[in-house]
């Protein structure tokens, strides 16, 4: 499993990574591998506000549909429209081109409360 050491994670396998004034949100390498081929990503609306832990979208793989849970409270400032034409970007490059949304945090302190790379690696190993 690949881990982005700059990102922080929650146990449901979403990550947040600081990118200037916003946070990039996506799913971990462990998650994309467990899901298998991703064939559709339901993206949130730009401008919508989500609380930490709230469902903000759906990742659909060949096997199943999985809800996405916001790792950090905030307002969506951008979504990755490239996933519309090529959802498998999440499989190929989950921390890079396969990002899902960008969020302006309303409680930036929540970031520190997420699992760091080492703690997430341990958590994901339990699956």
């Amino acid at each position: 499993m690949k881990i982005d050491s700059a990102a922080r994670y929650q146990a449901s396998h979403e990550f947040a990574r600081k990118d200037g004034t916003v946070f990039v949100i996506g799913i971990s390498d462990h998650a994309q591998e467990a899901l298998g081929d991703i064939v559709f990503v339901e993206l949130p609306e730009v401008g919508k506000t989500f609380a930490k832990g709230q469902s903000f979208g759906v990742v659909e793989s060949v096997k199943a549909a999985s809800d996405l849970y916001m790792p950090i409270s905030g307002t969506v400032t951008a979504v990755n429209d490239a996933l519309g034409g090529d959802p498998a970007l999440v499989n190929r490059d989950c921390y890079g081109l396969g990002w899902i949304a960008k969020v302006e945090a309303t409680k930036a302190g929540e970031f520190e409360g997420l699992l760091d790379a080492a703690a997430y690696e341990k958590e994901a190993g339990k699956d």
Binding site: G36, K63, A88
Partner: protein, 352 residues
């Protein structure tokens, strides 16, 4: 891996489900389908018995012919779908894994009424089954087998020797591609499987093992039913669109009377294909009219790797069954707009 009818079956191999699907559409897909069951029906009255027991015409078949048929109950409900092969002096019937026991019981019970003139044997344990499917499947089979598989016309069978193993080869399949299905003694399975992979490497033909997920998407695009989805003991042959697999000119077959009554009254629902945008339709999702009222249910649905559409098979009220009808599928509580489309979504090789 997933448990399936008592077997541990791979959902996908490391290749991945979508790529496996694509390989079968451009090269060769290998399918380890030993879970399928095989029966032999023989005896002086075997012809009349098979003709009475399955839905389709069989008495016009010549030795070697292979034909799709249904196993119905007295209500016209679909117990299983089958491939019926006529071989010299016997019938070779291929059934679904999950129905093997039921089917064997069904055939055996009915055979008893024929007072010893019909014999039914379950030879599934001793028989291995591999499918070799794809636009280059016959090329691969021709390189390995004698006589050439390609000399066997579509929907016929013949004996082919591969690596010293005698196979019953049927030019049939469940993917919409050309190729065939092989039946041979179980002890030769690993050798043949590895032989196909190796021959592919030697001759520059892309050959890969295909898991259950891609087997499902391949058959789905090609319009072939999967037991428990498009057909089941709670679905009758006519609403599932299988009039073509029922020979109403036969004096009788199990389910014929019931189907004639259903045909006269009109079906209450029809199997249709639906393409949607903005989500993946899945089994169990409701189909609704543009005004939001429930008109049916999806029995299968997925992303189709070849047509690149999100599509479902669904049973809907007949007035919504015409291709072009606007409908919606409820996914995660939201209506996703869709349209009824003609099936199959992908024209099988044998119809091209």
């Amino acid at each position: 891996m997933a448990p399936f009818a008592g077997y541990d079956m791979p959902i996908s191999y490391p290749t991945g489900a979508v790529e496996e699907h694509n390989i079968c559409r451009r090269g060769v897909g290998l399918f380890d389908i030993d879970h399928m069951g095989q029966l032999i029906v023989s005896g002086p009255d075997a012809d009349a018995f098979v003709s009475h027991t399955v839905s389709g015409a069989v008495l016009d078949m010549k030795d070697g012919d292979a034909r799709y048929s249904l196993l119905l109950d007295d209500k016209g409900l679909v117990l299983d779908d089958l491939f019926v092969y006529r071989l010299p002096g016997r019938w070779w019937i291929v059934v679904n894994a999950s129905n093997l026991e039921t089917d064997v019981e069904w055939f055996t019970l009915r055979a008893r009424e024929w007072k010893g003139t019909v014999k039914v044997e379950d030879v599934s344990e001793a028989t291995y089954m591999i499918a070799v499917q794809g636009p280059r499947a016959l090329e691969l089979l021709d390189l390995m087998g004698t006589p050439k598989a390609s000399s066997c016309p579509r929907f016929t069978s013949g004996e082919i020797v591969i690596q010293g193993t005698k196979n019953l080869f049927g030019r049939t399949g469940y993917t919409g591609e050309d190729g065939g299905e092989l039946f041979f003694p179980a002890q030769d399975a690993l050798g043949l499987w590895e032989g196909f992979i190796k021959a592919g490497e030697t001759h520059g033909i892309e050959v890969k093992a295909i898991g259950l997920a891609a087997r499902d998407s391949l058959r789905f695009e090609a319009g072939m039913p999967l037991h428990g989805h498009e057909i089941s003991p709670s679905i009758n042959a006519l609403e599932a669109g299988f009039k073509w697999a029922c020979d109403f000119s036969k004096p009788d077959f199990v389910g014929k009377k019931a189907l004639e009554a259903i045909a006269a009254a009109g079906v209450s629902r029809k199997l249709v294909g639906i393409e949607i945008t903005g989500g993946v339709p899945r089994e169990g999702y409701d189909v609704v009219s543009p005004s939001g009222e429930k008109i049916g249910t999806c029995v299968a649905g997925m992303f189709c790797p070849t047509t690149k559409k999100y599509a479902a098979n669904a049973f809907v009220e007949p007035q919504f069954a015409r291709p072009g009808t606007e409908v919606a599928v409820m996914a995660h509580g939201k209506p996703k707009s869709g349209v009824v489309v003609k099936r199959p979504l992908y024209l099988p090789a044998y119809r091209r």
